[in-house]
């Protein structure tokens, strides 16, 4: 917290008069930012669902739905593992935060490193999933090729835009986690550490939640 964001006490030294919500300013700001990002991902996911519904209707009219449903591309073999990885990383993040609050720095480093490794695995796994989909015929293009047949559809475009931006957010999260890791290692005694960890944790949980939403709405349903 900077000098400008401290809660104020009146000059008689009495208990602070109302003027603040009592939540750390950076945490409040991050929550508001998460609110904004929620709408960002909602718009991306909604766009994808709208165009998928159109593709389905078009295929159903042509009697090709069962055969050419683009959902065939979205196998859950790898992606459910990715979901598990990200959920596990949220758990390790919580454990890292708890360790930072109780100043158990060795434990903290272990759990935060675990989070970083799990997060990086997600990004790498997602990148592999993308190359796999490209090889199978689903690309960022207004048509896809399934078993030799081309279907004019925006499924690929909307899918890659949505998951691509999610992957970008995870990548930024991993960089942020690394930054916090090195900062805490360098300045272990800083009283700011627990809040720094909590802030990156808050962002990380949000990014995980977005994947839960995408995985459920796009892969499972």
């Amino acid at each position: 917290m900077s000098a400008t964001s401290h809660a104020h006490h009146d000059e008689a030294g009495q208990a602070p008069l109302v003027g603040s919500l009592g939540v750390d300013s950076r945490k409040l700001g991050l929550w508001a930012f998460i609110g904004s990002e929620t709408l960002f991902f909602t718009a991306l996911i909604t766009t994808h669902l709208i165009f998928y519904a159109r593709t389905k209707a078009q295929l159903m009219a042509d009697g090709m739905l069962a055969h050419m449903d683009p959902k065939h591309f979205l196998g859950i073999n790898l992606t459910s593992v990715l979901a598990a990885i990200l959920l596990a990383s949220s758990l390790t993040m919580v454990l890292a935060l708890a360790a930072s609050k109780s100043k158990e720095w060795a434990k903290f480093r272990f759990w935060l490193l675990a989070t970083i490794i799990l997060g990086s695995s997600f990004v790498l796994g997602q990148a592999y999933e993308f190359t796999h989909l490209y090889a199978e015929g689903l690309k960022l293009a207004p048509q896809y090729v399934f078993e030799g047949e081309t279907v004019k559809s925006l499924f690929g475009v909307t899918f890659f835009t949505m998951t691509g931006f999610h992957g970008l957010h995870v990548t930024i999260g991993v960089i942020w986690l690394l930054a916090v890791y090195f900062k805490v290692q360098r300045f272990a005694a800083s009283p700011e550490n627990p809040m720094d960890v909590e802030l990156v944790g808050l962002y990380w949980h949000f990014v995980d939640l977005v994947w839960v939403a995408i995985f459920t709405l796009i892969y499972l349903i």
């Binding site: 917290m1 900077s2 000098a3 400008t4 964001s5 401290h6 809660a7 104020h8 006490h9 009146d10 000059e11 008689a12 602070p16 008069l17 109302v18 003027g19 603040s20 919500l21 939540v23 300013s25 950076r26 409040l28 700001g29 508001a32 930012f33 609110g35 904004s36 990002e37 709408l39 960002f40 909602t42 718009a43 991306l44 766009t47 709208i50 165009f51 159109r54 960022l140 293009a141 207004p142 048509q143 004019k152 559809s153 925006l154 475009v157 909307t158 835009t161 931006f165 930054a179 900062k183 300045f187 005694a189 800083s190 009283p191 700011e192």
Partner: protein, 647 residues
């Protein structure tokens, strides 16, 4: 503590030194007051640019079958005029005045995140630079400020103009969201002790509401423009019907943002009016709670009316009926505000200063704009009026007659606080009347030509349609409107030199910013005031005239008094303000460079093969961002409240 006993500071510090311009202090500033001034000056420059664009258009339209401008240039001008006025003028002017005034009004030393604040201003300027660069690099955006698909697809808009539009506004959008986050946390967390939300000035309330609108409305525009960028550059087809896309999707995404956007443009100005009217009526605002909550109501309702911009598209009667009803309902909280403003002035001791004249100009012109909005809210009537000059009349009455007249009121009101000088009142009043008359001469006839069938966004028209005389009158009015702006510029420049020195509280006002010197020292308040009412300064000056009935606990001490302070005052040096830093500017510069790369991501520029130069820009931009983030982290440790402790 009567107003007559105020002391004057000797010379405003801005003019005190005769040395060279303090570049570093301004370019690396994180002080909300300097940042506010940079916003205000930049927004005013864009106002002049947008005004020139308007004048060029009006010259072209002054006579039928005119050949002053080609259709293509005209398209660029009307696109850039609107984009400039909305994104580069009214929004930053609101943010600039808000940046300067809000921390002062709540008794804070700065915004919650001073470095993020600096990032916002430089990012805004980067976006504005990109937008205007387009004029020199093959053509400005020309698809209208609303950029309807599929006209904006690359095959129909082959110049880089629309890419500049997407990326320039992407940068200003990030700046706006960051700024809104800053305002939310500042207002919620940094009010002076005793200033509950119920005691906040209404200008602060409106900035809070608008900040929430920004963070929830902008992401949709960001997504829409990213999708358009993908269409143009990366093989997407979101909005291209020929390839399975949907042009309507663009309209929904855009207007879901675009309608809340107009409330972003007007609500802060309504907040300014709510501050100015009570001061110059010597009465508290009538119905404080109603005015505050009607602002909140407008904020919420503003999100469910967007498709009234799409009545002509064929959404069907159910959708039309819903959006029509919601749009009419939004007139209610607006009317609540207007009646409360009138009631504030009623039986008040009214002083018709220039600021007060502008505030009344705002109310009357906004009412006219609101009435034309009511007719537009009815789909059957709108089908006649949409895409005609009637809409141009409506939007200018609410945006110029509303936002801009209100901003002039704010300018005349807060200029003394920001500069330490009074604007000349005699020149101001002349300027007001020239502007009021010429504004109406320019825009009122547009209701008529619109109703007589003149479409919007046309670069010329046939003679003998009944439009000629009105267009000519409008063009003449435009030149007088420009002249009134020049009078204002003259007033500003001469007042800065030789204007009457301003005391702390030249208007005998009610809110905290008038307790400290004009302009304030860097730390704002030597002693953070303790607040126990809605009008802390007024009640300190006139304890027997305190009349709004909200005094808080009987024993709660208030401590508001005039401060006569500067950087040398004893105790001032102990107040640690955040250090100057270039990191926010470097970060914004990096994002701007990267954005420029994305404009040309599929083209060959600078004599290099396709994409090489563009990717170079992107990589350099990312490197600058990384370097800036590093510096930012170093800065945050330098300014940490735990300075001096081993940390």
């Amino acid at each position: 503590m009567a107003i007559a006993e105020q002391k004057l500071t000797s010379v405003s510090p801005a003019t005190a030194s005769s040395g060279s311009f303090p570049w570093r202090t301004w370019l690396a500033t994180v002080d909300h007051k300097k940042i506010g001034i940079i916003y205000i000056v930049s927004a005013f420059v864009f106002f002049l640019l947008g005004g020139i664009e308007a004048m060029l258009m009006r010259v072209q339209l002054g006579a039928p079958n005119n050949t002053f401008l080609s259709a293509d240039v005209y398209n660029q001008l009307f696109t850039m005029h609107a984009t400039t006025m909305i994104f580069l003028m009214v929004m930053p002017m609101n943010v600039g005045i808000g940046n300067y005034v809000v921390p002062l009004m709540i008794g804070a030393r700065d915004m919650a995140f001073p470095r993020l604040n600096a990032m916002s201003i430089w990012l805004f300027l980067g976006g504005g630079l990109l937008l205007y660069m387009s004029f020199l690099t093959g053509g400005a955006p020309n698809g209208g400020w609303f950029a309807y698909a599929p006209l904006t697809q690359v095959q129909y808009s082959p110049t880089s103009g629309m890419d500049y539009w997407i990326l320039g506004l992407g940068l200003t959008g990030v700046a706006s969201i960051a700024g809104a986050l800053n305002f939310i946390v500042t207002v919620l967390n940094m009010r002076a002790p005793g200033m509950t939300l119920n005691r906040m000035p209404l200008f602060v309330w409106m900035n809070l509401v608008v900040s929430f609108i920004i963070i929830f409305a902008f992401p949709t525009f960001t997504v829409g423009s990213i999708e358009l960028l993908f269409d143009r550059q990366f093989g997407g087809a979101f909005f291209n019907p020929a390839q399975g896309g949907d042009a309507m999707l663009w309209q929904h995404l855009f207007w879901f943002f675009g309608h809340p956007e107009v409330y972003i443009l007007i609500l802060p100005v309504m907040g300014m009016i709510s501050e100015i009217l009570p001061v110059f009526s010597r009465k508290p605002i009538f119905g404080y709670s109603f005015v505050a909550f009607s602002g909140v109501g407008i904020g919420f309702l503003g999100f469910i009316v967007w498709a009234h911009h799409m009545f002509g598209v064929g959404m069907g009667p159910m959708a039309n009926a819903f959006f029509s009803a919601a749009s009419m309902v939004i007139a209610i909280p607006t009317g609540v505000k207007i009646f409360n403003w009138i009631a504030t002035m009623w039986a008040g001791d009214v002083r018709l200063t220039t600021a007060m004249l502008y505030a009344n100009g705002f109310i009357s012109m906004f009412i006219i704009g609101g009435i034309s909005g009511i007719t537009l809210a009815s789909p059957p009537i709108d089908l006649q009026q949409t895409d005609s000059y009637y809409v141009v009349a409506h939007l200018h009455y609410v945006l110029f007659g509303g936002s801009i007249l209100g901003l002039f009121a704010g300018a005349y009101y807060w200029f003394p606080k920001m500069t330490g000088r009074m604007l000349n009142e005699r020149i101001g009043k002349i300027q007001f009347w020239v502007m009021m008359v010429s504004f109406n001469v320019t825009f009122f006839p547009m209701h008529i030509v619109g109703t007589e069938g003149m479409p919007r966004r046309i670069y010329t028209y046939e003679a003998g349609m009944g439009w000629d005389i009105w267009n000519f009158i409008e063009t003449v009015g435009t030149f007088f409107l420009a002249f009134s702006v020049l009078i204002f510029v003259y007033n500003v420049l001469s007042s800065l030199r030789t204007g009457e020195i301003a005391s702390n509280d030249p208007w005998d006002a009610a809110t905290l910013e008038w307790a400290i010197p004009s302009p304030p020292p860097s730390y704002n308040f030597l002693h953070i005031p303790i607040v126990s009412s809605r009008r802390p300064l007024w009640d300190a000056k006139y304890p027997h005239a305190a009349g709004d009935g909200h005094h808080g606990a009987a024993n709660a001490p208030a401590s508001v008094r005039y401060e006569y302070t500067d950087e040398e005052t004893p105790g001032a040096k102990e107040i640690h303000m955040p250090s100057i830093t270039f990191s926010p500017m470097i970060l914004s510069g990096g994002l701007t460079v990267a954005a420029l790369g994305f404009v040309y991501i599929n083209k060959d520029i600078l004599g290099l093969p396709t994409r090489v130069a563009a990717l170079g820009f992107v990589l350099i931009g990312i490197a600058m961002v990384a370097y800036a983030i590093w510096g930012w982290i170093v800065d945050s440790r330098k300014d940490s409240p735990y300075l001096g402790q081993h940390h």
